[in-house]
Symmetry: C2
Subunit: 474 residues, 2 copies
């Protein structure tokens, strides 16, 4: 791999703008300027509350030296003692670890020999599908496996079910010392898992009380799995700090995350772009798109009251992969409704070069590829897509990563987190809660037959509905 | 695994309907009835053209005995002679093979021992990312690998670039007989690959000229990779045939794909649901969602002229995974804008059972999970989500698979293909072309420096644009 580049990531929003894209399709710079004061307020509000409330993640790029040292120490032990490392977590406890691993490690990491890998195989189990659990148990040797249980509350039904299954298996297969196979990452004071960890003597990391799940990648939730897989976690934090510096100005033409929030606000609120597609042109960033989709959807999809009226806001994030999805989604993006913004991720320098040999000289449309590289081809296709979107008047923007490495990835994640926080301010919503998932949780527990009053009442309510509907089944 | 169940899949649209969901949120049965005649016309138009034009895929469930026999013969040879099988293809040549493999084989198939697997490791390379190509070459032994090159035209730049790289490597590493490592799947008469295959003597399968990429899973494009991985391809075809039978009636209350098309048409055209989320509650169906997203997006995202006006139609499909994405997307679905339909996939009987042991008796909210199963938990959470969507007035529907197996999967894929074809008729568009991707392709070739006139002209046009925009970079 080339020497790691420590350069800033760049936000290119030319194709969002009316003077480039056409006045009927793009955002006028005057529309942006008109929001300068509101944007400055949003930036100030976020800055003022740095480190407090739910803005604890703004402190994570700094002052973690002690935690990082402990993570590296435990990670070194895991790398030495275990063949396999499994994260048991869901949502924010899973998406970050997956995204960072896939971005920064070998793309076929688990398929490498132990020697080439240099660390344990890595799995993130973020579902409770019984077939998936069985398939995991088929391919790991539990006696040689370390499990990282991640749940802030210790009450996440999915993760705690997995804990019950795995701890039972460990007791049976490993016996004495089974606790050494578990590392808990949870709240320092509250919840079940911290109590369990103290009782059993698990190795233990804390999720700061001011850091919510989808903003937790740069605390031990993300840092421990990354370190276990040999990733440069200090580089991630330094990248985040570099982006944080760029977000310290209230000037929206200087603060990339603030400009991003303003543009998406205008696109969504004034131009009916209720969809944002995130489309990395790099396989390594494929799961970064999933991570972004949680951040954007769960933070901004909210029911709010404005002037006494209930309003439902939120842009639906969806992901695509360049060039792959040119062959599945681009038709819709260029010819379908004008209802979306396309966010492309461009990588300037890949960590590998793949030359295309000459051949097929009898076929002009194939032969001309010979002597070029996949690097040139993927970039040409990215430009082709960008141009096709431009020509069809579709708002699009590009985030340019000089290279995919810990430093640029730290910047990218922090950029999206800041843009989300600013967007919350612009929309006048709480970007850090998720009240809309409660109903589903209560209903599930009711179905499972939990005997608390709350659930029994819900079970009755659900039953009443169920009886009335037997009709539309084909 | 339990004995394979050969039961019909069921479409449950109760939660789409006004009399269940509430009249301000759902579709009135009168709205559906009002479309009965139009729907019958759509069904008749599709039926009338069965097997012709681009409706060749309607013949695939039938009359493939000879092809299936040849596929099984070649597949048996591949299983015996090779350690690894790699599909080189993109779009429709990749999404189907991935979806079927993941649905019907062990979820950690490549991680199993060769003995447990019983067939070669399986990779589908549907991108041209240089890091990904390098990572593949790191983990396969090319001397023990068989490559299936799939491109109907033989002019797909991505696939033919991969062909140039791989054939060059095979010549160098394998030498004489390298051609035995390649199987070509392409058009019987037209294009480069058929000529190459004849010249080099590759094993060869045909894509019928009446079958487009995204409708090609049940021809050798999908059947060969499936057979190589030990999947029951006859079961897939029989499932498709069973669904085809159910679609032979023009009565929309009897024909599930027709009802589906009508409901989505009303949702999209009359109720602003420009998004459809497909959310399987089963890891095995995760990539079936990707396959559906291509089918729906590329077929229906179209620029059409209606009464002399250009109109842009198309519902943006996006995917989520239950229960995982309850922790990332559900907040948006229940509280965000009323702009989507959620399509849940329910599996009645998983092929594995995972019991949750008792434990954590000191924590009531964890202890109550003990003695239940992951099977019960995932189903309770699905019901919880369905109920939360219902309570918040969000249109949702459920496709019920008695079990995930070849027979139900064949039904499901054919169901979606028929719904797409009907929807094309209802929207009065051509569901089988993709003119919107041409601009991007030409622009890419222009960037790559292809010297044909067409591309040089485009390069000039692109250059003119590029020079005018240097401004909005942060």
């Amino acid at each position: 791999m080339a020497k790691e580049m420590r350069k800033p990531i760049i936000l290119d929003v030319n194709h969002m703008m009316a003077d480039i894209l056409g006045f009927q399709y793009g955002i006028a710079s005057e529309q942006v300027d008109a929001m300068a004061r509101v944007a400055a307020h949003a930036q100030a509000a976020v800055e003022k509350n740095r480190g407090t409330g739910w803005l604890g993640w703004m402190d994570l790029p700094y002052n973690q030296a002690e935690i990082v040292a402990k993570i590296e120490k435990i990670a070194a032990r895991v790398r030495k003692d275990f063949d396999t490392f499994v994260v048991l977590g869901i949502g924010g406890s899973a998406l970050g670890p997956i995204a960072v691993q896939y971005a920064l490690n070998h793309q076929r990491y688990n398929d490498l020999s132990a020697k080439m890998r240099g660390g344990p195989r890595f799995y993130v189990e973020d579902n409770i599908d019984p077939e998936r659990m069985a398939s995991l148990l088929d391919v790991i040797d539990i006696k040689r496996t370390c499990f990282n249980i991640i749940t802030k509350s210790g009450a996440t039904a999915e993760t705690m079910s997995q804990y019950l299954i795995i701890s039972d298996l460990l007791k049976k297969k490993v016996g004495d010392g089974w606790q050494k196979h578990i590392i808990a990452t949870t709240d320092q004071e509250k919840g079940n898992l911290i109590k369990l960890a103290h009782k059993e003597g698990f190795d233990l990391f804390y999720i700061p009380s001011t850091v919510g799940g989808r903003f937790s990648e740069l605390c031990p939730v993300g840092l421990l799995p990354a370190a276990v897989c040999g990733i440069d976690i200090k580089g991630l934090l330094e990248g985040a700090a570099a982006m944080d510096e760029r977000c310290k100005t209230p000037n929206l033409w200087k603060n990339p995350a603030l400009l991003e929030a303003v543009l998406q606000y205008i696109a969504m609120e004034e131009m009916d772009a209720n969809i944002q597609v995130i489309m990395p042109y790099a396989d390594s960033l494929k799961y970064m798109a999933d991570w972004f989709c949680q951040l954007w959807a769960e933070s901004l999809g909210k029911n709010v009251t404005r002037k006494g009226m209930a309003v439902n806001v939120g842009q639906t994030p969806t992901k695509a992969l360049g060039v792959t999805d040119q062959h599945s989604q681009l038709q819709l993006y260029t010819e379908g409704p004008y209802d979306k913004v396309i966010t492309l991720l461009k990588v300037e320098s890949f960590r590998e070069k793949a030359l295309i040999p000459h051949g097929c000289e009898e076929f002009a449309d194939v032969a001309f590829l010979g002597g070029k590289s996949l690097n040139a081809l993927i970039d040409a296709e990215r430009q082709g897509t960008e141009y096709a979107l431009y020509r069809s008047g579709r708002m699009n923007q590009t985030i340019i990563l000089p290279q995919v490495n810990a430093y640029t990835l730290g910047q990218l994640m922090y950029f999206f987190q800041m843009a989300t926080a600013y967007m919350g301010e612009l929309l006048d919503i709480d970007a850090f809660n998720q009240p809309g998932v409660e109903e589903s949780k209560i209903a599930s527990y009711a179905v499972l037959g939990n005997q608390s009053d709350k659930y029994m009442k819900k079970a009755q309510e659900m039953k009443e509905r169920t009886e009335s509907q037997k009709r539309y089944l084909l």
